[in-house]
Amino acid sequence: MSATVQDENGLVAFFRWVYAGIDRTIFMGLKFTFPGRFVSPLGFLGMLTFVVFIILGITGALLMLWYEPELDRAWDSVQNINNTIPFGFHIRNIHYHASNAMVMLALLHLYYQYFSGRYKIRNEIIWVTGVIIGVLTILEAFTGYDIIFSERAELAISIAASLTNSIPILGPQMRDAFFGGGFHDFVLRFYAFHVFFLPIALLGLMVVHFPRFLVFDVPMVMAITGAIMITGGVFPVDLGTKFVPTSPPGITVPEWYLTGLYAFLRTQYDKFITGVAWPGLLIFTLMIMPFIDRYRKFSWKDRPLVTAIGITSIAQIMVTTYWGFYIDPNIQKSLLERLVIDPIFFYSVMLLLVPLSFGFTYMMITLAKNSEASAKLQPKKPAAKSSINIPVNWIYVVFVALLAFQIYLNIAAYYAVLNGMKNFSLFIVGIIMLVFAGMFHIYRHGKAMAKAPPPPPPAKPIGPPAGAKPLPTAPRSGPATPPTTPAKPLSPPPTQKSTSASATQTSTGPASSAVPGSSPTDRSE
């Protein structure tokens, strides 16, 4: 690259030029924040979900190189990926566990937005698209494990097809049109849905769903990635047994995000009601919640009915999910007795959960209000800040130690691969990711320390951004600032620490809205 002669740092100039050019793109409408210190991940669970989606896209694209969506080859090709292709085991495990992580993060994201009240007041579109994205995410994960064509996949495909068939009037035609005429079509089409139709729909909806304020926290992203890999190393996903239609399969249950639905189906009631109408009702209720929630306030403590409905839904989801998994271990009984759930028992437990959840919510709100009242009586303590206060020199020591640890881990991962210990190497790579997360955290901590003036200022309105609460004046300084310069604004760190902080943050509306451009609703995702 022999670009500029007079500028000795041509590469930097080039990056500056590119960054300035981005000014004309849609990305300038988004405000990316790279937090300068630890921020509770609850506020940016959506971004974490998106990052996991990207991980899934990358690993999934790689898996496409080896997977064969054909009736009699699908399972064998997955086995080939898992056992023969170098690092196929790693890629497949990351893909599988990332899919679980994405569903889990999306659920947490949903409930956090719900209880913190951020989902209403001008965020309705974001909420409704979010619910649709959530449904598509589950379908995406569902079609993914279907195309392995193991026994569990076959169970899932047969349930999907029979639920579609059970739709009144047009059901069989819809099944024919969307899933095709038999196993061959099912595998091929579920594959098409999995790798193209659903992801493209997800991406399109995400464009609508993204708020303008986004938080990208590198350590948390790396920690999530590491956690996915560590889970893959400790609990490597099995291949399942190839589906052979003439031999009895083992007892399988669907993936955890669908066992709740499976519990309904196991009551052997009408398939349309149990398998289509109930989940549809749940999704519809979720969608219209922000329009039902007419409370003026945001905190869960001030919205008792809405909180109670949320708690009820969590309780019911947990009970049905467990129930879907549970199969009577007594093998003396017939399989049928073990599999079928008594509908009267099942539905009465679900009904019983409603008053229990409402009572629980009432108790929690009372307790929270009491503790709030008693906290007001006591002299105000400065907010406990659990920052690491290590001297600057020690930061370098820790940094070098972490680097050395990473080198050691790299060697260990290499040897683990050589010795065929695939899951151990995946585990170690996960640890490397976590160590990187720690390193990055130490790095930004050290950077903040370096910029901080020696005496801790009590409250300076115009100070370096390293302090705790300076105003983010810099974001408006212009897009030409490269992202790496230290002048890059660091967001005002939200002070919430624990789970109860979600409430304090939203209830102290005036306090946080004193910071321009960052009302509680802004910092979501």
């Binding site: 076959e154 239609p245 398939k271």
Partner: protein, 208 residues
């Protein structure tokens, strides 16, 4: 015209409204041909509009004079030229000649039954067992059992499923003057011949 209301008959449509109407009609007319393109989606090999032979595994056509009583064979229907597709469970059918006590000695179509081999529970492949004391369809996976006379599940998990998922899809047969057995064009709906892997309402329109 102080009150806004529906336009009365005889009122002149403004030029602008007329144009809008034309544009809307034009848009609809433009996209109408694509409705039919929806036929791209379902698999066309499932549609059979002509009679088909009951082709036994040895390649011969089933004949009422030669096919033994209380016996079954698996038949591929609709048969394609693709060996992978022909292996497909959804194309496998049990062609049964009923045992004597159920009328298998008759030399007409009432002696025969043809049911989808895909078990209605979880899509394993059941088959007919002619042994004395059994004489029923049995699924190897979870033990669903089917009545050869009607195709209705009478035991096992499939029998607990609500209709139509407790009765096997069934093909209608015909016997020509030479005694050859033919499959009549099916109507793939729960009220007709049933949907493979899903079931059939007993007493539907096309049942003999």
């Amino acid at each position: 015209m102080t009150q806004q209301g529906p336009p009365k008959w005889g009122r002149k449509v403004s030029r602008r409204d007329f144009l809008k109407l034309m544009a809307a009609a034009g848009t609809i007319v433009t996209f109408i041909p694509f409705i039919d393109w929806g036929k791209f989606l379902p698999n066309p090999t499932g549609k059979v509009s002509a009679k088909a032979k009951v082709e036994l595994p040895d390649g011969s056509q089933a004949n009422v004079k030669t096919f033994p009583v209380n016996h079954s064979e698996s038949v591929i229907y609709p048969k394609t030229n693709d060996p992978v597709l022909n292996k497909e469970s959804f194309r496998l059918w049990q062609f049964i000649r009923l045992p004597t006590e159920l009328g298998g000695n008759a030399n007409d179509v009432s002696a025969f039954r043809m049911y989808s081999m895909v078990c209605l529970h979880l899509w394993c492949l059941w088959k007919y067992w002619p042994d004395p004391g059994r004489k029923r369809g049995e699924c190897p996976c979870h033990g669903s059992m089917y009545d050869p006379l009607t195709g209705k599940a009478f035991a096992g998990p499939a029998s607990l499923q609500s209709p139509p998922s407790n009765v096997l899809p069934r093909l209608d047969l015909e016997i020509d003057t030479d005694g050859n057995v033919w499959i009549l064009p099916p109507n793939w709906s729960p009220n007709g011949n049933g949907v493979v892997g899903f079931g059939r309402f007993l007493g539907g329109a096309s049942q003999v």
